[in-house]
C-alpha cells in the first residue's frame, strides 16, 4: 500500500517536470513595435522587441526588417540566449505609416497567441517606435516598456483617454456601427507624451483627436469617472476667462430621433445628451462665485463652451467618416437587420444631423466660500 501511495505521489508531483519554464532562462518580451520606413519594400516592415532584463532596470532591444511576425521572431530567437516568451507582453506600438495601411493582421496573430493577455495596450507611435524603445534614459521608469505601461494605465484610469487594449480594439473592430480608437504617444526630449487619440476606419489609422481635445472626446466617447477638464471659456476674447472642473464625472446617452427612410436618402437625426458634474477648483474671470445666480451663469458658460467643442469634434469625426462614438450601434439597433446591412453607413453617418446637448452641474466650489 505504501509503495502504491509513494508511486502515486511521485507521479502527480513529477508531472510538472516535463514542461519546464525557468524564469532565468526566459526572455520576457515587454513591448513589440511594428513600423514601416519610407523606401522599404511594400511587403516588409521593421519589427522591434524590447525584453526586460532580470534586474528590471535595463532592456534588450532587437530590431529587424522582416516580412512577417514569425519571420522576425525566428530572427530574434537566433540572437537571444534566452527563450523568448510573450506572456508578459504589455503593449504593441504601431508606427504611423504602417497604421495607415491597417493593423489588424498584426493584432490578429497576437490575439491567437494564448500567452498574450487581452489587456495588452495598442498604441500608435508618432515618432519612430524603434527609437522610443531603444532609449533607456527616461527618468520616469526603468525601461521604456514599463514607462509606457504605467503612463497609459494612469491616464486611462482617469478617463482622459480611452483604455485602448487588445480587447477593446478587437471588440470595436468586430462590431458593426463603431470604429476602434487607440492612444497616440510621441517622444520628447525627456519623456514620452500622450499626443491625442488615434481614429480608425476599420483597422486603418485615418486621423487624430488633438491632445487638447482629448477630454471632450472622452465625454463623447465614454462615461468618465474621475477626469479633469480645463476650459478657456471665451476663446474669442482676450480677457481669458478660464475654469477648471476637477473630479469630473460624465454620463452620455445617445438617442436616434429619426432613422426612417434612410435607404431613400432621408437624413439621420441623432441626439447626444452628456451630463457633466465636477468640482470647480479654479476660475479666473469676472463672475462672483458667492452669488447663486452667477454660479448658474458660470454653469451655463461652461455648458456652452463644452457643447461648442463637442459639436465641432463630432463634425470632424463625420468628415473623416469614422464613428468611434458608436452612434452606428444605436442606429443599427433602431433598424431592421436587412435595412442596416443594405445601408451605406459611412455615407449616412457623414451626412447625419448629430446634435450634442450638454448639461453641466458644479458639485462644489472647493473649500472656500468664494
Amino acid at each position: 500500500m505504501k509503495v502504491k501511495l509513494v508511486c502515486l505521489v511521485l507521479l502527480v508531483v513529477l508531472t510538472g517536470c516535463t514542461d519546464e519554464h525557468i524564469l532565468e532562462k526566459s526572455g520576457f518580451i515587454r513591448t513589440i513595435a511594428y513600423d514601416k520606413e519610407s523606401g522599404e519594400p511594400k511587403d516588409s516592415m521593421r519589427v522591434t522587441i524590447s525584453i526586460t532584463k532580470s534586474n528590471h532596470q535595463d532592456a534588450i532591444v532587437y530590431s529587424v526588417v522582416a516580412k512577417s511576425d514569425k519571420d522576425a521572431k525566428s530572427h530574434f530567437d537566433r540572437q537571444n540566449n534566452r527563450r523568448l516568451v510573450t506572456g508578459q507582453l504589455r503593449q504593441v506600438l504601431f508606427g504611423e505609416k504602417l497604421a495607415r495601411e491597417g493593423i489588424w493582421k498584426h493584432l490578429d496573430s497576437l490575439r491567437r497567441d494564448p500567452m498574450i493577455g487581452s489587456r495588452m495596450h495598442v498604441i500608435i507611435a508618432e515618432e519612430d517606435p524603434y527609437h522610443i524603445l531603444l532609449r533607456n534614459d527616461y527618468p520616469q521608469g526603468p525601461t521604456a516598456g514599463e514607462y509606457i505601461d504605467t503612463l497609459i494605465r494612469t491616464e486611462a484610469k482617469a478617463g482622459d483617454i480611452p483604455d485602448s487594449n487588445l480587447y477593446t480594439f478587437s471588440r470595436d473592430y468586430y462590431d458593426e456601427g463603431i470604429d476602434p480608437v487607440t492612444t497616440i504617444i510621441r517622444e520628447q526630449k525627456e519623456s514620452l507624451i500622450i499626443d491625442g487619440v488615434a481614429l480608425f476606419k476599420d483597422d486603418k489609422y485615418v486621423g487624430k483627436v488633438e491632445p487638447s481635445d482629448r477630454m471632450f472626446f472622452g465625454l463623447l466617447h465614454h462615461n468618465i469617472h474621475a477626469g479633469d477638464l480645463y476650459l478657456n471659456l471665451k476663446e474669442d476674447h482676450d480677457d481669458g476667462e478660464q475654469a477648471s472642473l476637477q473630479f469630473l464625472r460624465s454620463r452620455r446617452k445617445i438617442h436616434v430621433t429619426s432613422s426612417s427612410k434612410l435607404l431613400q436618402g432621408k437624413r439621420l437625426k441623432v441626439d447626444m445628451d452628456i451630463k457633466v458634474e465636477g468640482s470647480l477648483l479654479e476660475y479666473i474671470g469676472e463672475l462672483d462665485m458667492k452669488k447663486p445666480a452667477e454660479q448658474r451663469k458660470l454653469e451655463e458658460e461652461i455648458r456652452k463652451s463644452i457643447q461648442t467643442k463637442c459639436r465641432s469634434l463630432v463634425r470632424t469625426l463625420q468628415e473623416k467618416q469614422t464613428d468611434p462614438l458608436g452612434i452606428g450601434q444605436y442606429v443599427r439597433n433602431s433598424l431592421p437587420v436587412g435595412v442596416w446591412h443594405r445601408l451605406d453607413w459611412r455615407k449616412v453617418y457623414a451626412d447625419a444631423d448629430i446634435s450634442v446637448h450638454v448639461h453641466v452641474r458644479i458639485k462644489d466650489y472647493g473649500k472656500l466660500q468664494h
Binding site: L11, V12, T15, G16, D175, I178
Partner: protein, 368 residues
C-alpha cells in the same frame, strides 16, 4: 457489521446534477449560441432549458409510473435479458466514449494555456486515476465529492462582476434570433442543447433514493441552478464582447477570465480553468458510473473494483482517439448529439413499456 446503505438526499442530488451538467461545452457556450441561435440567443438558451425541463419531467413520469423501479428492472420485466444485454453493452460502450472524449477535450484545451509540450495522455492518465478512485466508491460518496467540487467552482460565477465596467446594453440587439452564421436548423439548436447533457443520468439514481430523497426536486433545482449560473455568464459575454467578436472566439469564457486583473494577480484564466478539472471529473465519473451500472446489470457477480478498472482502462485508451483539439471537438459534438437523442428516447421507450406492463397487469420488480 452490517453496512447501512446511505441514500442520497435532495441537496446532494441538486449539486450532483449541477456538476454533471457543467460539461466542457460551457466554455464555448456564448459562441455556440451566437453561431446557432443569433442575436439575443440567450432567450433561445432559456427556451432550450425549458425543453430540458420537459425531458426531466419524462424521467419523473418513468419514476412515478415504475414506482421507483430501476430502468433495468422495467425493461427486463417486458423483454427477455438476452435482448436487453446487448443494448446495455452498447450503451455502456457509448458512455465510456462520452466520458473519455469529455475528459480528454478538457486537457487538450488546457494544453493551449499550460503544459503545451507535455504529452496530454500523461496528464489524462493522472485524471483517469482520479476517475478510478471516485468510481470505486458508491454514488453517495461521488455525490459528496460533487458537493465539495461545487463549492470549489461556483464562486467563479462571481468573477463576472469584473466585466461589469465594460458591459454595455447597446451590444445586445432588439432583434430576435438574427444573424446566426450557421443558420437555424434543428441540428444547430441541438448543438446548444448539448450543454445541458448530464441530467439524463438521473435515471441511474432511482435505486439509490427513497421517497424522502425528493429525487426530482433535486434534479429540477440542479438543472435550473446551472441554467441560471450559465445565463449570468452568457449575458455577461453578450454585453462585454461584440456579437461578431464572440463568433471569432473559440472559448469566449476563457477570454472573459483573461481580462480579469487583480492587484496581486492577473491572467487568472490559467488558474480558474484548472479549477474546472473538478467539474470535468464529475462529468467523466458520472458517465463511467452510467456505463458501470449498465455492465453490472449483465454480470452482477464480478469481484469488486474489477469492472471499474476495466471501464477506466477503456476510458484511458479511448482517449488516444482524439489527438488534436479540432478533432476532439468534433468527436465530442458527435457523442453529445447522440446522448441528446438517448436522453429523449430512453424515457419515451420506458413510458411505453410501463404502459404496456400496466395493460398486461405486470408490475416491475422493485428490489434493490
Amino acid at each position: 457489521m452490517n453496512k447501512v446503505k446511505e441514500k442520497l438526499n435532495v441537496f446532494h442530488i441538486t449539486l450532483l446534477i449541477f456538476m454533471t451538467e457543467m460539461n466542457i461545452t460551457m466554455f464555448s457556450l456564448p459562441r455556440l449560441i451566437v453561431e446557432n441561435i443569433g442575436t439575443n440567443g440567450w432567450i433561445g438558451y432559456l427556451a432550450l432549458s425549458v425543453l430540458a425541463t420537459f425531458n426531466i419531467f419524462l424521467y419523473w413520469l418513468v419514476y412515478r409510473m415504475g414506482r421507483g423501479a430501476s430502468v433495468f428492472q422495467i425493461m427486463e420485466c417486458a423483454l427477455p435479458k438476452a435482448v436487453m444485454y446487448p443494448v446495455y453493452w452498447a450503451l455502456a460502450v457509448f458512455w465510456i466514449f462520452t466520458a473519455s472524449f469529455t475528459g480528454k477535450n478538457f486537457f487538450l484545451i488546457f494544453q493551449m494555456l499550460s503544459f503545451q509540450t507535455t504529452n496530454p495522455m500523461f496528464i489524462f492518465l493522472l485524471f483517469c486515476l482520479m476517475v478510478f478512485a471516485l468510481l470505486i466508491k458508491n454514488i453517495y460518496n461521488i455525490s459528496k465529492t460533487a458537493t465539495v467540487f461545487f463549492f470549489m467552482t461556483i464562486w467563479t460565477v462571481g468573477l463576472t462582476v469584473y466585466q461589469f465596467q465594460d458591459w454595455e446594453i447597446v451590444r445586445f440587439s432588439p432583434h430576435l434570433f438574427q444573424l446566426a452564421s450557421q443558420g437555424h436548423s434543428f441540428r444547430n439548436w441541438m448543438e446548444v442543447y448539448t450543454t445541458f447533457m448530464g441530467y439524463e443520468l438521473c435515471m441511474f439514481l432511482f435505486p439509490h433514493v427513497t421517497k424522502k430523497s425528493k429525487l426530482f426536486q433535486g434534479v429540477f433545482i440542479g438543472h435550473w441552478v446551472i441554467t441560471i449560473a450559465q445565463l449570468i455568464v452568457i449575458l455577461t459575454a453578450f454585453g462585454y464582447f461584440s456579437f461578431h467578436q464572440i463568433e471569432s472566439l473559440l472559448y469566449p469564457i476563457i477570454d472573459l477570465l483573461d481580462f480579469i486583473e487583480m492587484p496581486f494577480i492577473n491572467r487568472i484564466e490559467n488558474l480558474v480553468f484548472s479549477m474546472f478539472v473538478f467539474a470535468n471529473l464529475i462529468v467523466t465519473v458520472m458517465y463511467c458510473f452510467a456505463a458501470l451500472t449498465a455492465i453490472k446489470q449483465t454480470c452482477p457477480k464480478v469481484k469488486p473494483n474489477r469492472l471499474e478498472f476495466v471501464i477506466v482502462t477503456m476510458v484511458f485508451f479511448t482517449g488516444y482517439i482524439p489527438k488534436y483539439l479540432g478533432q476532439s471537438e468534433q468527436l465530442l459534438r458527435k457523442v453529445l448529439y447522440t446522448e441528446t437523442y438517448i436522453a429523449f428516447i430512453v424515457p419515451v421507450v420506458l413510458i411505453c413499456v410501463l404502459l404496456y406492463l400496466k395493460l398486461k397487469g405486470k408490475v416491475p420488480n422493485n428490489e434493490s
